[in-house]
């Protein structure tokens, strides 16, 4: 019988909102369904790397697939076939643990988000995307099969051929359709840890789009953009492209991260001026227009993972993320409006990312990505200002036929969500009757 944790509550990465729930660690897939069933609604959670409330449930029971201290738990690797690259693992295994196993064997993740500390269950439930979306699509496209456990004890093996509707509902299903017990992930071969990297400075959205088109064949592309700069520096940024190096080199396992931000920054540390200085330094760190380098995959894919708990930088109150995708038809004017709204808000944000999504269809009914341009950035919570800004950004997104990403959201309204995802009613039929989330309560009132 798993026991209730009396430890600190479960927070999402943005540390907002703060909702109390009891946490039940699942150490074995056979721990679910809980015996006896809890008196409250439930929600599976992984590493809590979602930003808003998609992994929260006030007064509910969180089924955590990672052990206390976020190691252990449902993290077993159940099978690996080097001939096909298919790894089968329990849903609590993190992408970092998969890399530790796969890289020395000459394999790599099919899709990587900006942190390796997410679980496979979380990666499926938000159908996450990476720097290779324009060529590889979402994570769910590389998950041939998984097992879904329902609270009534039903066990469903799901694939595009078997229980196909459950497969589609669960990929991007935000944990609401049941507990993913294990999943298969199709890895890709590599011969080196190294990435051949090119960084190109750009100025303006048009140049960004031109660079994305010119590098459409690069496996990984992403851009950092300065959202504070105005005037002739407006929408300046660095376009980054990368490929796995094809020259064989030793495939060692990564060393564990040691640096950690031990305490919360006071609010005043991150402000318009300090972030402006950071952005200017970052932009000017690269002196030439184009820079080529060979870098390890860790800093290329997971630059922020070097500093554990970097989210404490935003102070105790936490922060808000905003990520939208705008379809090509309306993309450029919509993006300009969003960027102008942000820069004139004077709200500090230095982690802003711009990327082109490709047209490989997502397998999930509720998946976020669609062809177009996506922008992601975060804002410290400063009383009502950040909330007002996000409301405006959501309105602009809607006006330009885009949509927002539930994994990074704490503010969209029910009306907005239902307009972004008109298929939500069809999806609702697949929700486990004992499951719920704070996000779902908010967007379906």
């Amino acid at each position: 019988m798993p026991q209730k944790s009396a430890g600190p509550g479960f927070e999402s990465w943005g540390r907002y909102p703060k909702l109390d729930a009891s946490v039940v660690p699942l150490n074995w897939t056979s721990d679910f369904p809980l015996r006896p069933p809890p008196a409250t609604r439930m929600l599976p959670v992984g590493a809590g790397r979602s930003y808003g409330d998609v992994c929260l449930l006030g007064h509910g029971t969180l089924l955590r697939t990672r052990g206390p201290g976020l190691s252990g738990g449902m993290d077993r690797l159940l099978d690996f076939d080097p001939a096909t690259g298919i790894l089968c693992c329990e849903a609590g295994a993190t992408l970092g643990e998969i890399l530790d196993f796969a890289v020395p064997r000459g394999f790599f993740l099919p899709v990587s988000p900006g942190t390796k500390y997410v679980t496979v269950g979380g990666a499926i439930a938000n159908d996450i995307h990476g720097k290779n979306h324009h060529v590889a699509g979402t994570f769910g496209r590389h998950v041939p099969r998984f097992e879904l456990l329902r609270s009534d004890g039903t066990q469903l093996i799901c694939s595009p051929a078997q229980n196909a509707n459950w497969y589609a509902a669960t990929i991007g299903g935000m944990g609401l359709t049941g507990l993913i017990a294990w999943a298969e992930v199709k890895l890709r071969p590599i011969v080196s840890r190294r990435i051949r990297y090119t960084g190109i400075k750009f100025s303006g959205v048009e140049e960004f789009i031109a660079l994305s088109e010119a590098h459409a064949k690069s496996e990984y592309t992403v851009s950092w953009i300065d959202c504070l700069a105005t005037g002739h520096n407006f929408a300046r940024g660095i376009f980054m492209a990368g490929e796995h190096d094809t020259v064989a080199a030793p495939l060692k396992r990564s060393k564990p991260a040691r640096l950690s931000l031990p305490f919360n920054f006071p609010e005043f540390v991150l402000n318009r001026w300090s972030v402006g200085v950071f952005n200017a330094l970052y932009y000017n760190k690269q002196h030439t227009k184009t820079k080529n380098a060979i870098v390890d995959y860790e800093p290329f894919f997971y630059p922020l993972d070097k500093l554990q708990h970097w989210n404490r930088m935003y102070g105790r109150d936490g922060f808000l993320q905003f990520q939208c995708v705008l379809p090509w038809e309306a993309g450029q004017p919509g993006l300009l409006e969003i960027l102008k709204t942000i820069s004139s808000s004077r709200l500090a944000s230095f982690l802003a990312v711009l990327k082109v999504f490709g047209d490989a269809p997502s397998p999930g009914m509720m998946s976020f990505p669609k062809p177009g341009i996506t922008l992601a950035l975060d804002f410290p919570i400063r009383r009502e200002i950040a909330f007002d800004l996000l409301e405006r950004l959501a309105a602009i997104t809607l006006e330009h036929k885009g949509r927002m990403y539930p994994a990074k959201d704490a503010t969209m309204t029910a009306g907005q969500f239902q307009a972004f995802y008109p298929q939500w009613k069809k999806f609702a039929a697949y929700i486990d009757p004992a499951f719920d989330s704070a996000f779902w309560q908010r967007v379906t009132v």
Partner: protein, 251 residues
């Protein structure tokens, strides 16, 4: 000290314990072969699949309740036969028990003492004779820092582990000269299902960290190891507190 070959055949008693599983993963990556004993077949299957995937060259599972001492000799003989020879036997199962219940009833105290001490005595007796006759091998037993001094908050569990420590000291003195390593492992707080109900403070170690320490202690042929190592200092201080003060503390 003779150079040691890394253990390639491993008998794990209580293989579904989080600390044990983490230790076995380290050994699996180096290609070891396993005989896993624990009481739940479903969990054993998951552990076995994981070890195979990570590189184990063979895994056999055996489901039994280790409280059943009468069944120990047959199980151990089967394990020895299946592995060929046993390089390493790791005793990892245990129960924390409930101190309040154990204070109120002997039956509850006896359960803890039976699982943590008496059933271990049964296994260690057989294994000590086995290793002595082989003239090699490692007998590694997970005890606890709680066995170093009786404390009001968990003395029944503490007594079971303290008795285990004394028993192992004696066994070591008997078979060390036959070339057998007897390793007493004393972890501090480790974040595992056993302690999931406790608030996780900064003193908590991760099972993977303790696992690396266990493997290192085996390689270095240590007798006793505190994991993480700072617990040796904490326990030394705790043992040095005069009894007249200690008995007034709320630890």
């Amino acid at each position: 000290m003779p150079a040691r070959r890394f253990p390639t055949t491993v008998l794990a008693l209580g293989a579904t314990s989080a600390i044990c599983e983490a230790t076995l993963r380290v050994l699996a990556e180096r290609g070891a072969r396993f005989y896993l004993v624990a009481r739940n077949q479903e969990k054993l299957n998951a552990v076995a699949a994981d070890l195979r995937t990570r590189g184990a060259s063979g895994v056999v599972t055996h489901a039994m309740d280790l409280d059943d001492t009468a069944a120990h000799p047959a199980m151990l003989a089967t394990a020895a036969q299946s592995l060929g020879t046993i390089d390493l036997a790791l005793l990892a199962y245990g129960v924390l028990g409930n101190q309040a219940e154990a204070e109120a009833s002997y039956a509850a105290a006896e359960e803890v003492l039976h699982t943590n001490f008496l059933s271990a005595v049964s296994l260690i007796t057989w294994l000590a004779n086995y290793f002595e006759s082989m003239g090699q091998g490692t007998l590694a037993v997970i005890s606890s820092v709680a066995g170093d001094r009786g404390r009001k908050s968990n003395y029944v569990y503490g007594a079971s582990k303290g008795a285990l420590n004394i028993f192992l000291d004696g066994v070591r003195n008997r078979i060390d000269r036959a070339g057998v390593q007897v390793l007493t492992i004393k972890p501090g707080f480790v974040a595992t299902p056993m302690t999931a109900h406790l608030a996780q403070g900064p003193l908590f170690a991760q099972p993977s960290q303790v696992a690396r320490g266990i493997v290192k202690a085996i390689e270095k042929r240590r007798d006793i190891v505190y994991l993480p190592a700072f617990w040796a200092i904490i326990m030394m201080i705790l043992r040095l507190i005069p009894r007249r003060i200690f008995k007034k503390l709320s630890v």
